[in-house]
């Protein structure tokens, strides 16, 4: 079995570039590698399914489109009317998967570890909203998109899952491993204006 010593995140080569592009007080960029990600599908109309899944997550599954529920260390992102992404800290994927499989045994569900599918990039700071708006058609104004909101959309033509984690504001972008270097370089370019010394 491959051990953690061989793990290498999609943006390992760009860690210094992301850190160097960050401007204190304006915008910060950093990879959040190796987050646990479990794709869960099931019947949202089935109260037993919702209760069992919610028990593992520590919060009720979000039923409103493009919203997020936080339960302890885990977050549940709405991906569709019968689909959620359960996100946890690095290394927790096995426990989440086993917990869901045990709690949902015998039900018509799908539980798949997709942790290696996407990496995450944290975009935070006062300028974060403006940076993302350069490449997205979504309304990202704080009145329309705040903490607990998420969206599956395109950023600079790359498919991403976006969520606002906190009011700082702090966003998290999930992007497929093969698109991550492109998107990281796009973000470094999009934040260039903040690196010009002001008056």
């Amino acid at each position: 079995m491959a051990e953690a010593t061989h793990k290498r995140s999609p943006l390992a080569d760009l860690a210094a570039g992301l850190a160097g592009a960050s401007v204190p007080g304006r915008v910060s960029l950093a990879e959040e590698p190796f987050l646990a990600q479990i794709d869960l599908r099931g019947d949202a109309a089935d109260g037993g399914f919702r209760e069992a899944a919610g028990g593992v997550i520590g919060a009720a599954l979000p039923l409103a489109p493009n919203t997020v529920a936080q339960g302890g260390r885990l977050r549940a992102l709405w991906l569709g009317p019968d689909e959620w992404l359960i996100v946890g800290p690095e290394g927790s994927e096995g426990g989440i998967e086993a917990g869901l499989k045990a709690a949902l045994a015998g039900r018509h569900v799908s539980i798949v570890d997709v942790s290696a599918s996407r990496t995450a990039i944290a975009v935070a700071g006062a300028g974060a909203r403006e940076v993302l708006a350069k490449g997205m058609g979504l309304d990202l104004h704080s009145r329309a998109f705040g903490p607990g909101r998420s969206a599956q959309a395109q950023l600079a033509r790359a498919q991403v899952i976006l969520e606002q984690v906190s009011g700082e504001p702090r966003f998290r972008l999930f992007v497929r491993a093969s698109f991550a270097p492109y998107l990281a370089r796009w973000l470094i370019d999009a934040t260039a204006e903040y690196r010009i010394a002001g008056p």
Binding site: P65, L79, G80, P81, G137, Q152, A153, R157, Q159
Partner: protein, 100 residues
Amino acid sequence: MLLIPCPWCGPRDESEFRYGGEAHIGAPANPGSLSDADWADYLFMRNNPKGWFRERWMHAQGCRRWFNAVRHTVSNEIAAVYRMGEPPPPAPGPGREGET
């Protein structure tokens, strides 16, 4: 660029969607009894109106759900969207181009 209202996610760029052609084409109940001409009609023949058209779209870059839309093929105006399994809304009035 069209702004298409996904019934789940709300208004999104056209680039996030995949087009699925005419809606409400039911699969034949008994395919074995169809003549070649009937089978070809089911597989290939579609209406192509100048006016309101019920058609399928899929929010490919978003929630990845199929849904139906009522779009005017001249003005691109979208009068309604509705989820799979929901009944089609009544036919809209004339479009902005004055077509029916």
